[in-house]
């Protein structure tokens, strides 16, 4: 992958709660190509962190701190968080 290729994008992925424990890390940079969606990032994360894929059905995703759907577009330097079902209160 060439660094000068404008089709390459890098997003910051954050893991929380059970997903953080499954990933074994709080944060990772994921490189992919434009155009990309939340689903693209999910696929990349699930293949890299198999244990996180066990949560696939219950995970919510946020893009830049807003809940997002699988088809939401992601752009270079976006912050994508993997959120297990919340349990505050």
């Amino acid at each position: 992958m060439s660094k000068n290729n404008r089709d390459n994008i890098c997003v910051k992925v954050l893991f929380f709660g059970a997903a953080r424990e499954a990933a074994g890390t709080e944060e990772v940079d994921i490189f992919t190509t434009f155009p990309a969606t939340v689903q693209t990032v999910k696929d990349a994360v699930f293949s890299r962190y198999e244990k996180v894929s066990l949560f696939a059905r219950s995970l919510m995703i946020s893009v830049n701190r807003e809940y997002a759907a699988d088809e939401t577009a992601v752009n270079d330097l976006d912050e994508i968080a993997f959120l297990p079902p919340v349990s505050g209160g």
Binding site: L14, F16, G17, A18, E21, K42, A56, R57, S58, L59, M60, I61, S62, R65, E66, Y67, A69, D70, A81, L83, P84, P85, V86, S87, G88, G89
Partner: protein, 157 residues
């Protein structure tokens, strides 16, 4: 002339996450506007027994940069539905012992009924949408809790 109780209190909404112990009385007294007659407060604390299972302690974590804006959104939505004037929400993070306060929601209204309704609605929505997680530690293991009615189902992914 001595200031009245109203003049010494905060007149703005507040949303906070902290690892420090919560003082419920102090938090609720920050939500006492002059035009109101009632402040309803939820003191949510760590339950020891859940369906016969004993909790030893628990640990909360949050996506802080998203949790605070989500709390503000809830507050804006609550104002549209209920005749209320001020809202304060403080959630504790980190390790909490049995009986310690994990969340305080204080709502002030000219008349109490709207404050009760808004407070119940706010805790319900907080548990559903605000990115905060609770891990329970039992005598025989630990588990991440799952919220009720969380948006996971809505997004269908």
């Amino acid at each position: 002339m001595a200031k009245t109780e109203f003049e010494t209190r905060s007149q703005t909404d507040f949303f906070e996450l902290t690892t420090k112990k919560l003082d419920v009385g102090a938090i609720m007294r920050r939500v006492v506007p002059a035009e109101c007659g009632a402040t309803v407060v939820l003191d949510g604390y760590v339950r020891q027994w859940t369906s016969g299972k004993e909790t030893l302690y628990l640990v909360y974590e949050a996506y802080e940069a998203m949790a605070l804006p989500e709390m503000k959104k809830l507050s804006a939505a609550a104002r549209e539905q209920f005749e209320i004037t001020h809202i304060g929400i403080v959630h504790r993070l980190g390790r909490l012992e049995i009986g310690e306060t994990s969340v305080v929601i204080a709502v002030a209204a000219p008349h109490r009924k709207a404050a009760f309704s808004a407070c119940e609605w706010l805790i319900m929505e907080l548990k559903r949408t605000v990115p905060i997680w609770k891990k329970e530690f039992y005598a025989d293991g630990s588990a991440w809790m799952k919220g009720e009615n969380t948006p996971a189902a809505e997004h269908g992914s």
